[in-house]
Chain length 142, copies 4
């Protein structure tokens, strides 16, 4: 079974670009974050807003983020972001984001996130919990 | 007694500028927000982080923000932000921020904020409360 | 003839919200900027990217921005932004942005911008030029 | 000879934090970008603004960025960023950024950048050029 892929398109905004006229690097990490929320929304059928309550977690804390910049994205460019989960582990997973412009790969991004719940005895703390198999299955894994 | 003025300097960052090479407008509102926190820190002697607990408020919700852009600020420019409270009312106040570059006024900003506490009967709600006279006095007003 | 209104919808992103769980004020000014570009795109039929070349201008420099925050916008909220030009003057104009959430007005924003061209004798400078009547007409004014 | 290290301190801003009260990941990449500019400023004795003209380059395009998030940074936290170049290659180099809070490592960041000049025959293009040995030496390498 193929891994579930979420696509979205967006047009590069003026305010996302730097003086060299291309998207400033931090903006891609904003895009990746939203794309991960949308990937979960589409695969699980709950809004990002309801995700925590629906699955007993407090969120999907990011422990690692990375990006390769292959081609610049300019103001007005229409970009496509394709996101999918490349690997599920016991309580963490890796998301891959591929940004293409006119069919050409422009940015490759990656995130490692944790399936995390609030710790009962100390509500200020969070801890990783096992990802339920039916969640994994909904992404076409497991 | 003169109104207490807080000054800070910063150098314009590459990532704050847009393709025309000047600071993108939303970045000035980020600067104003921080300058207001620092104004309170300096006038009241508590960190922004402690402000809520020290005075029984949940924060200083912004109800109005505005800016006039007179001269552009470019990458590498050293800018000075001078902030003070121009008027205290019962439970709200107006902050003025003046950004100068090389002694010339570049941006004039303004914020209207509320002195707000959490509502006892409904902790999801907040309401405006009277600003204590000794707080007002510490800004050289009242 | 009614003023041309541009609408767009967006869902509030996690990264646009601050620790109180609501959209941080500077993010609304990012939204307003994009909405103005889209308003021009839709009214004039050229992309934001082509706007300068199509009309002999270098852009629409912002000289004044302002916002009233009436109701908070939270993570996951679907917001509608309606933008139109309220007044054209010789070489400047005022844009109004109304953000509604579930039909209720949440933020009122305003921008004053200039129709600007590069100065022939000094390409580092820009100056305001008269807005052509046919541009004004396409927004339902004049 | 030890690698030149640039340090800077900053206090986490309200507007840099997300609804979970911690710095949103994209903000660290903004910090890394500025820290790299400051590292070059301090090692080479020219401002970031003059860097291009002083060394015949158009900038230091980023080709790869990455970060590990070990401990959260909260509103009001005083963070220290220590940046140095871990390796110089012919025309590219790797920067490492270590963010510590109260002496504890919170975020490890890395960037790969290129020493790039405008292409003579096609000023819209840029290409990697060899990094001069005296530049490398000023960072304590080579």
């Amino acid at each position: 079974m193929a891994s579930f892929i979420s696509h979205r398109q967006l047009t590069v905004e003026w305010g996302q670009c730097d003086p060299s006229g291309i998207v400033f690097n931090s903006r891609f990490f904003e895009m990746f974050d939203l794309s991960t929320w949308m990937l979960f929304e589409q695969a699980l059928g709950v809004t990002a807003h309801e995700l925590g309550a629906a699955f007993g977690i407090i969120g999907l804390p990011l422990v690692d983020a990375r990006a390769n910049f292959l081609k610049p994205a300019k103001f007005g460019d229409v970009i496509d972001i394709a996101s999918h989960i490349v690997e599920f582990r016991r309580s963490s997973f890796d998301v891959e984001h591929k940004i293409t412009i006119g069919g050409e790969l422009a940015v490759e991004g990656g995130e490692t996130r944790v399936w995390a719940a609030r710790t009962k005895d100390d509500p200020d703390k969070i801890h990783a919990v096992a990802i339920p198999p039916d969640i994994v299955a909904r992404f076409g894994h497991g």
